[in-house]
Symmetry: C2
Subunit: 434 residues, 2 copies
C-alpha cells in the first residue's frame, strides 16, 4: 500500500469479508503487518482478528495495550474471545482479564478453566433454551421481544426444570408448525450431547458422523451449559485431518506463519531422532563390510531394496493412520486390517521382486544376484506391510498418537530389514563372503 | 449375530442412528454383510445406505435389483441419491434410472450431467426461495401450509423475478422479526454464490473460510438452481484434508474397505515408479564403486546422509502441500516461503552436521571422514529444503496436483544428492580414490 493511496485502498478493503481481510494480513510479510494495521485502523475489527492465523494474530496483539485487547475480546462470542486470549502469555492474559467487564471476564475465566482443545473452550454460552410445554407462538413472540437473545442460531434447545436438555428443535420445524403446538411435540428427543470436557477431535468426529449443525454441551451433572455450532468445528475437522501428514514427517505444527525459531526446534528434534535410528541401519551395513568389499555392486543395489520397502511401509502407514483418525479401526476389525495388508504386501512384493530380480539378473549378467534382490524385496515389502499396520495400531492401543512416532519406527524397520535381508541373503547364497 | 438372537439384535439396532448402523456394516467382514442385511430387513433404510462407505455400499447394492435401488434413490435427497447412483456401472445406472419416476429421474440425470466432484452433484434441488417484497408473516404462513416444501433447511433464499439470488436470510433473523416487515429488509445482500460447475474442494474451502451453513448454487445465467448445506461439505473437508497424506505416499484412495485388487493396482504402480527413480540414486553409488572398495565405511555411512536428507525433504514437502491445499500459498508469498525454508534448512543442516560430523570423527577416529559427512549433511539438507518447497510449488503452477508426484521427485533428489555429496566429497578430499 503506497502512501497517498491509503483512502482508495481503505475503501476497497472495507467491502471485503473479515476472512478476506485476515487473509490479506497473512499474505504480507511480518514487517509490513503493523503498517497495514495502521492504515486499516478500525477496519481491523474484532471479527478480522478472530479469523486470522494465530501466529499472525499474536504478532499484532503484541502491539496492543491490554485494555485494547480486552475491548476486542468483549465484542466477540466467548469461543472467539477465548481463542485469542488462550494464546497469550500468562502475565498478558491476566492484564487483559483485569481490564474486562466482570461479566465477560467470568465467562472467559470459566472457559479457560476447561482443558485446552476441549468442548468447554469451543462452546458459546449464548443460546436459546425453552421448556417443553412452551408453545411455538410463545417461542416466536419471545424471540421477537427479547433483545438480549443471540441473533445467529440454528436450533433451539428444550430443557427440563433442572436445565438438562431433553430435545432439540430445528428452526425450520418451528416455522412450519402452527402457533398453538407445544415445542415438546415438535422437537427431536434423540440428540447428541457433548460433555464439556470432550476433546475437540472427538467433537469434530461427532459433528461429521451425525451431520450436526449445532449440539448442546452439558456439564457433569447433565445441565446445558453451552452450544457448539458446526462453523466452529469445520476448521477443527480440517486441522485434525491435515495434521497427520505433518506429524508423520515430524514437521511440527506445519504452519507457514509459525516463527522460524519454533519451526526449527520442532523439525531438528525429529531429524536428530532420525539420525539415531539411522545408526541401526548403518551398523547392519557395517557388519557386512567384508561382503561389500568383495562385491561392490551390493552397495549400489542395497538402497533400492531399502527405499522401495520404505515406500511400501509409508503407504500402509498412511492408510492406517487415517483409518485410526476416523475411528474406522477398532478392536473388532484390526486383525482383518492386518491380514488385508499382508495380502497386499505379498502381491506388491511378488510384482516388485519379479521386476527388480529380472532387471538385476540381466544388467549384471548374474542370475544369482537377481534371485537375491528378488527374495530381499519380498521379505522387505512383507515386513514393511506388517510394520506399517502393526506399529500405529500398537501405539494407538498404548494411547499414543499413532501419527507422531510411527514413521520413525517404520522407516528404521524397513531400512534395517532391507539391508539385512539383501546383504544377508547375498552371503548365505554364497554370492560373496564376509 | 447368532441365529435365534435376531429379534433382540434387531431391537437394539433399531434404536441406533443411521450413521451407527452404517458403521456396523463397515465393521463386519465382507462375507457377513449380506446376512446382516437380511437380518436387519427394512432397518437397512435409504438413510443408512447414504451414510455408508462407498465400497461397502457397492457390495450391498450389487445384491439388489435395479427396481429396489430406484426405490431407495427416490426416497433420498438428490445429492444422496446421486452419490449412490454415480458409483454404479454404466449399464446398472441406466437400469436404475429406467425404473425411477420421471420426475426423480430427471433430477438425477441433470445432476449426473455435471462433472464428477462438482457443486452440481453435491447440491440439493429442494430449497425455499421467495421474492424480496414478501413479508415475514407471509413466509411463515406459506411454510406452515405448503406440505411440498422441504422440512430441514437453515436459510431462505431471496430471488429476483429472473430467479437470480439477491440475498439470504437465516431463519433466526426471520423469527426475530415482526410479521409485517418485508424479507428484503431482513436479508443479507452479501452472499457467497457457488457456480454449479465449481470443484467440490473449492466449495469446501469457501464454506470453511466464510463459516457458511448453506449456500446458493447458480447456473451460468446466474439463476438459483440448488443449495449446498454444510453437512454435505463436512465430509469433503475431511476427505480432501486427509487425502494429501495418502497421495504423498501413493496409497491410492487409502480406504480400508477398498477391494484388494484396486488397492494393489494403485500402490504397485507407485512402487514401480519408485523402483525407477531409485535407479538414479543407485547408479550414482555405482559410479563410486572404487571409492567404496577402498573405504568400505562409506557404504555404512551413506544411508544416513540420504535418510536424514529424505526426512528433511519430507518435512518441507508436507508443510508446502498443506499450505497449497489451504490456499495459503499464492504468487505473492511463494518466494517468502522458499526463503523461509532455506533459512530453516541452514539451521537444521548446521545442527545435524555438527552432531553427525563429531560422532563420526570420534567413532572412526578419522576427523577427515567427520568433516566429509558434516559437509554432505549441510549440502543435502539444503537441497532437501529447496526441493521440498520448490517441487510442489512448480507442480502447482503447472496445474498438477502437488501431492501426487512431489514425494517421488523429492526422495529421488535427496537420495541422489546424499550419495553424490558424501561419496563425491570423500573422493575430492582425498580420503579415498575412485
Amino acid at each position: 500500500v503506497e502512501a497517498g493511496e491509503d483512502e482508495a485502498a481503505r475503501e476497497r478493503i472495507g467491502r471485503l469479508h473479515p476472512a478476506d481481510i485476515a487473509d490479506l494480513f497473512e499474505l504480507v510479510s511480518d514487517e509490513d503487518r503493523p503498517s497495514l494495521a495502521r492504515v486499516l485502523g478500525d477496519m481491523l475489527s474484532p471479527d478480522v482478528l478472530a479469523e486470522m492465523n494465530e501466529h499472525v494474530r499474536e504478532g499484532l496483539i503484541d502491539l496492543l495495550a491490554p485494555e485494547q485487547v480486552a475491548e476486542i475480546a468483549s465484542e466477540l462470542d466467548t469461543d472467539d474471545a477465548v481463542a485469542i486470549i488462550e494464546d497469550l502469555e500468562e502475565e498478558e492474559q491476566q492484564a487483559v482479564l483485569d481490564a474486562m467487564e466482570p461479566e465477560d471476564r467470568a465467562a472467559i475465566e470459566e472457559a479457560l478453566s476447561y482443558p485446552e482443545e476441549s468442548a468447554g473452550r469451543l462452546m458459546q454460552r449464548e443460546f436459546v433454551a425453552v421448556a417443553e410445554h412452551v408453545t411455538v407462538g410463545d417461542v416466536i413472540d419471545r424471540l421477537r421481544e427479547d433483545r438480549e437473545l443471540p441473533t445467529d442460531f440454528w436450533e433451539i434447545f428444550v430443557v427440563d426444570p433442572m436445565h438438562r436438555p431433553v430435545g432439540t428443535c430445528q428452526l425450520s420445524w418451528i416455522m412450519r408448525t402452527p402457533r398453538d403446538i407445544a415445542i415438546g411435540d415438535v422437537m427431536k428427543r434423540e440428540q447428541t450431547l457433548i460433555p464439556v470436557d470432550m476433546d475437540q477431535e472427538e467433537v469434530a468426529l461427532r459433528f461429521q458422523k451425525y451431520a450436526l449443525i449445532s449440539a448442546a454441551v452439558v456439564d457433569r451433572a447433565g445441565r446445558l451449559v453451552g452450544v457448539i455450532t458446526v462453523d466452529d468445528v469445520v476448521h477443527i475437522i480440517q486441522e485434525e485431518a491435515g495434521e497427520d501428514i505433518l506429524r508423520l514427517s515430524g514437521a511440527g505444527d506445519g504452519d507457514i506463519n509459525e516463527p522460524i525459531r519454533e519451526t526449527y526446534s520442532a523439525r531438528v528434534r525429529w531429524l536428530i531422532a532420525n539420525l539415531g535410528t539411522a545408526l541401526v541401519a548403518s551398523s547392519i551395513v557395517g557388519m557386512f563390510g567384508g561382503a561389500i568389499e568383495h562385491m561392490v555392486a551390493l552397495a549400489a543395489l542395497m538402497p533400492i531394496v531399502a527405499g522401495v520397502g520404505g515406500n511400501a511401509g509409508t503407504q500402509t502407514l498412511a492408510v492406517t493412520v487415517r483409518a485410526l483418525a476416523m475411528n474406522q479401526l477398532t478392536d473388532s476389525n484390526s486383525w482383518r486390517a492386518v491380514f488385508r495388508e499382508i495380502k497386499i504386501a505379498l502381491l506388491n512384493g511378488g510384482t516388485i521382486a519379479l521386476i527388480a530380480g529380472t532387471a538385476t539378473a540381466l544388467w549384471f549378467a548374474n542370475p544369482g544376484l537377481g534371485g537375491v534382490i528378488a527374495a530381499a524385496m519380498i521379505v522387505n515389502i512383507f515386513v514393511a506391510g506388517v510394520a506399517g499396520v502393526a506399529i500405529p495400531l500398537l501405539l494407538d492401543r498404548l494411547d499414543q498418537d499413532p501419527a507422531v512416532a510411527s514413521s520413525i519406527f517404520v522407516t528404521m524397520t524397513t531400512d534395517s530389514m532391507g539391508f539385512l535381508a539383501f546383504l544377508g541373503l547375498a552371503v548365505a547364497s554364497g554370492l560373496t563372503t564376509l
